[in-house]
Amino acid sequence: MKILSIAVNTFRENLRDKLLYNLLVFALLMIGSSILLMRLTLGEFHRLILDIGLGSINFFGVLIAIFVGIGLVSKEIEKKTIYTIVSKPVARYQFLLGKYLGLTITLFVNTVIMALGLLVVLYAQAVPVEGMLFKALALIFVEFMVVTAVALLFSTFTSATLSAIFTLALYVIGHLTADLRTFGEKMDGLSRGVLDGIYYILPNLERFNLKGHVVHHLEVTGSDLMLIVTYGATYTAVLLFTASLIFHRRDFR
């Protein structure tokens, strides 16, 4: 119940954050702009709209996850609001989970709004909507959850600016881990082991990317989908657990 109260308060805080609206407006503009771009392209209209649409939802959602996520905890410490919460019968992990859940709700609402924007564009251009699109959107949301947890983890021990840089870096690397593995395969012995280790430790965010499947009408089996969601959930849980451990030891000066 305490976690939920903090989550609702965080959601309310997010709703009154101008940054969120700016990003949302840009996302909708980007999705809408695919109509204009379509006129400059020969053929493949449908692919273009789907590609730009899903890409925009992913990109702006990640920006919200990072830039609102890094402020979740650091802003509370900076403004000393956390003092009044932690001195009440609220465990630190409850505070952290509440903040996380709050932003997750915000991201969910945003994803729904952006998805509706995309659906409107698809409908206007008479592009057939397939079930795969919703699977892709669901996985994009799972990716947001992982990225938010990364941002939250960093913000429990470092400043907002550094957290943003680290999280952005991890987001980019997370989409390139396959290359890391390929690179490792060309080596041997210790270097290969190290690169393999890094490959398994870092989040493999490319797993959540089904844009190609949607655009090229490829299928993903239900069990594969479950596996990817489980991977995202487990990764998030580990991140949140680590964040709680760090947060528990922290002094609020």
């Binding site: 119940m1 805080e13 009440k88 019968p89």
Partner: protein, 321 residues
Amino acid sequence: MTPNYDLVVQTEQLSKIFRVGFWGKRVTAVESLNLEVRHGEVFGFLGPNGAGKTTTLKMLMGLIHPTSGHAQLFGRELGDPQTKARLGFLPESPYFYDYLSSREFLGFYGHLFGLWGKVLDKRVDELLELVGMTHAKDLQLRKFSKGMLQRVGVAQALINDPELVVLDEPMSGLDPIGRKEVRDLILRLKEAGKTVLFSSHILHDAEVLCDRVAMILKGCLVACGKVTDLLDQGANHQVELMVDHLTPEGLDHLRPLTDKVVIQGDRMLVVLKSQQEVGGALEIIRASKANVVSLNPQKGSLEDLFIREVKEHRNPSEART
């Protein structure tokens, strides 16, 4: 540390060392602090800025982990959720969630204590009434003045009807009216049987409000006890004597007994070294046929004691002379 249930706050050798900077240089914020706050008293925690007051309070509130030593609240170790339900805390110059109205703000804190629905509404209304903020219940906190923020801050600390109320610098940054309101509120809490622990560097407030005070300097406790006892200890027992028409010869006789003489026309203000000199001084005055206008024994103030302690810490030899 054996639990003492008669004490609301008890610390034993409580210390905090911070590591600052890149190389983790050790800075002692609080050193071997022994403190006891009893049920139902108003306890002032005094010291200059940077003395370690806030660090100590934060340790008690579970915001900072002590480096060594022990502390108990209501006879239980720090961090016990049951203990936290019995205390209220107002941090120094807080900002709060400025996108909330005072009603939403207090409602949120109420939820953290499991208060919902009508019980919560009633409690919020009572508190807004208590701190005189009923008129601004639907106004966003971002539109509040500092005094108003401080008042909803106090309301926030009282949402769970706590037995111990801890206020960090509750008077700082407030105008005289705001300060008086906080003072009245503290007295009202005392009447209601609450224990109040507050830190301050405004000594006058402490002198008026506190049953007992502790003075801390550079993380070390330098004085602790009843305000009256400390004032007696600290008083220099000087006596101010106002005399009319004292002859120059009379003044010459009087001088050895005085610390200071201020002449204003026919009238002069004589500060006697101690109360023992009063008899002798009066005899000299009578002999020279002068009139005594007034005689005031000087009461020491916490401020005098405070300044002396600070001096003693900076330069022990200077303070003794």
